[in-house]
Symmetry: C2
């Protein structure tokens, strides 16, 4: 049985980027939450509970944010699924609304990264994959090489993902980067894990994004009428693919995450008008779209180079700029994706609006799904 | 609206205590999960998803345990609410079952503490309370002094909590400590935060506890008939009491957690036959029972000394030994409490059985509820 949909009554973000030390986790979370409340015309007294997504915030981070927000006494829970943490918090909130435990809840995703992470996210000391050099960037570099070898894709096609997503976020006031970049810049950037260079990698960002979700009783409490974008379903799938076995780009976990999205939501892949995709690396956008069944296997490079996944194309992907250009404060990415879909489905996304957007998908991948430790893929299906 | 009850189809633990380094978080979690499955006569194929409670396990700890357990492909989510983490994971599982998202789920609480924590849990560097000396033990020491001053309670009455709980866990094969201690030993132990000494404090423990929860469809899948203990409701309340304002022992957050338990479950405090209480310190058991309204204000010391909260008394508290003697691997405590209540409600708790136990309550407190950062209180109401 699929739980009832959740309505997105409000969506709010602070700009992603490198923020000063005194722009704390708590300040960012409060800022995003207040923006979501204001967007819904709601206030704190309307809120039954708080669902927090974060990875590095430390114990009871949600309670610290709740305290500064003034949300005393309400249930607060913290949800962690690495880069899918924000989406996982949304999943738990969706279920609580469907079960009738709550009618109106805040979901905040937040991460303060730039003051603690230099270079890339450091792997866990016990991570056997990392110990043999199979860190995140290396895995995606291997994925890109394999993809080029198997499908005759070119380096330029893969780099085109970064050019596209940076072009989109020129129109996103909440994006970490808001300047276009050229194909030459991507190709000429410092190598990270060949063939991928610096601009094929999502940055280390600070940021927060929040949504105010409700069920039908909550809509009445908030006095909302007219069309309100809905979360039809949130899928969550775990996967553990042994490195070296099978095809690195088979994306079995994405296929299953897609199946869960279609089954739970009743929406088919052909109905999706736009996607917010977890493009932690350029190549990841391509193989994940293929894994989901939204782009034919092996054609993602051509699709990107041909503009099919750009604004104005047949399946716009990452109108927000995605992780590559909106930025990637890990716990905030899942909630930021749902903010973007909400604005797109309302038709208020300004210069990055996807015309006629009716049904949309967000996808996050958390943890080392291709490694031995496993991870999670989340899918959020929304409609207007 | 209160979500439908969840049935506890199986309960399993590994013994709490100080385990060698090679008894990893993953091994402990897998051990508890297999015990819960075996207890239910279920196997992995019956499980729809995994809900993990932990604090210090690092990102995607649940996925690491799921991988070693062999639970590939199923949704895994990680839930953190400091010492209420296990109970919070149970709450999210309960709601998912009620909403029909899943029919059978595993909930694992786990913590590996002894190889990383020496002495006490180190406060966060940004914790302003701790920076001025208001660490956990100091807060409870102040609470004890205040309680003695306000209610004429004696040091011996407070120490009696430790004597009672250690006496109970002599009968608990999963307890960290399984030997009785004397009042003299408690009074003569090394001072920690006066008037509290070492034996007034719960230990640093490793451990894991798991429950297999299901809804009515899940009962059919598992082929279970006859009475199965039920979780009627899980309450969750946050609180932020400014230090120095008001009465340290007013336990407003416990009062509200109790109210949420009674409202959600439809059970009244007078119907509770036994309690698993978060006795992280001796005094905490007393003031929290009073906060919940289960013991009259100011009489908890007398009640303890008179044996009213011991096995055979009118309201047995912590038949398992509680945090003081079963041990306190923080993320595992909430699930261990529900294991204990399950065995008690089945009537299979052996030498620590509460006669005629029909309705029971578990309580956890996570984070610094009396500090400025805030925390959470969870309440689980069960019946047979």
């Amino acid at each position: 049985m699929s739980p009832a949909p959740a309505f997105v009554a409000g969506a709010g973000m602070i700009r992603f980027g490198k923020h000063p030390v005194d722009v704390t986790l708590e300040r960012m979370g409060v800022g995003a939450a207040r923006a979501a409340l204001a967007d819904a015309g709601a206030d704190l007294a309307d809120v039954d509970g708080l669902y927090m997504g974060h990875v590095f915030g430390g114990p009871v981070a949600g309670q610290r944010i709740g305290a500064q927000l003034g949300l005393d006494g309400k249930p607060v829970s913290n949800h962690e699924n690495y880069c899918a943490s924000g989406a996982t918090a949304i999943r738990e909130a969706w279920v609580a609304l469907a079960a009738g435990l709550h009618d109106v809840v805040l979901v905040i995703g937040v991460e303060k990264m730039t003051d603690r992470i230099v270079g890339g996210v450091r792997p866990d000391p016990g991570d056997l994959d990392a110990a043999v050099g199979y860190v995140m960037a290396a895995g995606h570099g291997m994925s890109a090489r394999r993809y080029m070898a198997d499908h005759g894709a070119t380096r330029e096609q893969i780099a085109a993902v970064a050019v596209k997503n940076h072009a989109h976020s020129v129109h996103n006031p909440f994006a970490h980067y808001q300047k276009p970049i050229s194909l030459e810049e991507v190709l000429g950037a410092r190598p990270i894990a060949e063939p991928l260079g610096l601009l094929d990698c999502s940055p280390i960002s600070d940021g927060a994004a929040a949504v105010l979700l409700c069920n039908r009783a909550g809509l009445r409490r908030l006095g909302l009428s007219g069309p309100v974008p809905r979360i039809l379903a949130v899928g969550l799938v775990s996967g553990f693919v042994q490195t070296g076995l099978g095809d690195l780009n088979a994306e079995d976990v994405s296929r299953r995450a897609g199946e869960e999205a279609w089954t739970l939501s009743g929406v088919g892949p052909g109905e999706i008008d736009l996607v917010e995709m977890h493009d932690c690396f350029t190549i990841a956008e391509i193989v994940r779209l293929e894994g989901l069944g939204l782009v034919p296997r092996g054609q993602g490079g051509e699709w990107t180079a041909a503009g099919h996944t750009a604004l104005g194309g047949q399946l716009p992907v990452n109108p927000s700029g995605g992780l590559l250009s909106r930025g990637h404060p890990v716990g905030a990415t899942g909630t930021a994706q749902v903010c973007e879909l909400t604005w797109q489905l309302r038709g208020t996304a300004g210069g990055r609006q996807v015309d006629g957007a009716r049904t949309a998908l967000a996808y996050c991948k958390g943890g080392s799904v291709n490694g031995t430790d496993g991870g999670s893929v989340s899918t959020v299906v929304m409609t207007r």
